[in-house]
Amino acid sequence: MSARPPTGETIISRPVPEPTIDSKPYWDGLKERRLLLQQCGNCGLVRHYPRPMCAACHSLEVCWIESSRRGRLYAWTEVHHPFVPALRDEIPYVMATVELEEGVRLQCQMLSAEAVALRLDLPVEIVFRDVQGGLVLPFARIV
């Protein structure tokens, strides 16, 4: 395979989120090791990711509820290529799409999972890990 020219831009570190007015409570919750989800203040529908309006009733009223952190595996991929050099030492790692009991899904890295052990609807729980620069992220763990 031919080498890349040196001009290629590469994402060196784990990307850092930039919270918005709508999402700040979510990120603040993670710092306190709580998984907070938006709930419509009018009709009660839980939604994710954070956004201003309820798609069901169009209310802009928002409450925040704390997730049970219990869910099931909806989909996954085992990553072998270091798209992010900061994660090179963790390869291979599994990215999981977890369907939470509250009905919404979360994309997160799995803690020490072997892809061969995975199957749809496998029960998992969400835990928290410090990653870099004060950032706390949700991770999934097989129950």
Partner: protein, 385 residues
Amino acid sequence: MAASLNGRAAVVGIGETAYRRGSDRSALALQLEASLSAIEDAGLEPKDIDGILPYASGAAVAEDFITNFGLEDVTFSATTPMGGASCVAAIQAAAVAVATGLCRNVLLPIGRRGYSDSRVASRVAAMPQFHVVSEFETPSGTIAPAQLYAPMARRHMELYGTTADQFAEVAVTMRRHAMLNDNAIMQKPMTVEDHHASRMICDPYRLFDCCLESDGGAAVVISSAERAADTRRPVPILGVAEGHPDSPSVITQRPDITRLGLAKAAPRAFGMAGVGPEDVDVAEVYDCFTWTVICQLEDLGFCPKGEGGAFVEGGRIGLDGALPVNTHGGLLSQAHIVGMNHVCELVKQMRGEAGRAQVAGAEIGLVTGYGDLGDGSLAIMGAAA
């Protein structure tokens, strides 16, 4: 009945540069070269262009074409920011513009240095429509399209029994077609075993399930049916549509991650064209990954959901099969020109000018776009008069 664009517009010109890994030309120069070829192919001159639809996430804006071609009065410009679905979605916008008389001849250019410049993970992170993924998913380590799309393929495999052998069938077929094409980058034969031996990128995607990164430019010119009649070899647009999946900004929150925006666009485009999947002689299907082809064949209605893997088996999508797919080699083995190369190939097929990859007697063909986390677009064309 829904508004119809059937027969109101035609592709009158196509242009492509050489597709390569490595180019000493800028992305703008590449698409100016391709644009000039497309304008000349139509028998027009640059001054005849009065509409421009550049690639939304590309290196050039409409003003660049006005400046470089010295255009005096462009009356319509727009972009269709749908990632890999952009080029075919732009056909719909162009058809509306010429059918309503907003302009006469619309240029759809694209050019990129996908091999020589920024990598795909950096490119998508810069797209405004990725802001939700950028905030909530990339910090966890999901950066590149391969990572974002692999779970869709994995779930499809778990639900429907789709196999790596079926992925390989797509990759091997695209390679075989590329080897018939002098302007295809990949010319080395590929076997199923070669596919299975290529390194894992993110399960279930191996290297040979992933498209190329290429340098090159491509362009088409679209005119109204009336004006098209004066051009060399116009190819009529029979049906065209775009479709946005549920939860368009993030795949993870989508009710069914194995169903694309194309599933919404397909019935509209087929309905407009007055034909069905059974009438299609050749299909140019956006192939950023092998499984993406399998899923789109389902969403187009060639087979029920879950049966796309079996559909591609046994040579069905090869040049001699019942539905030849990506007769130019696709993004997987020709080049990644964001699917404008697929549009150009369909026009060649409809003109009977596809060389060694020509599907004999092709009268109805389609081209799809797929991108931006699930957006879809579809154009159905008929044989040139």
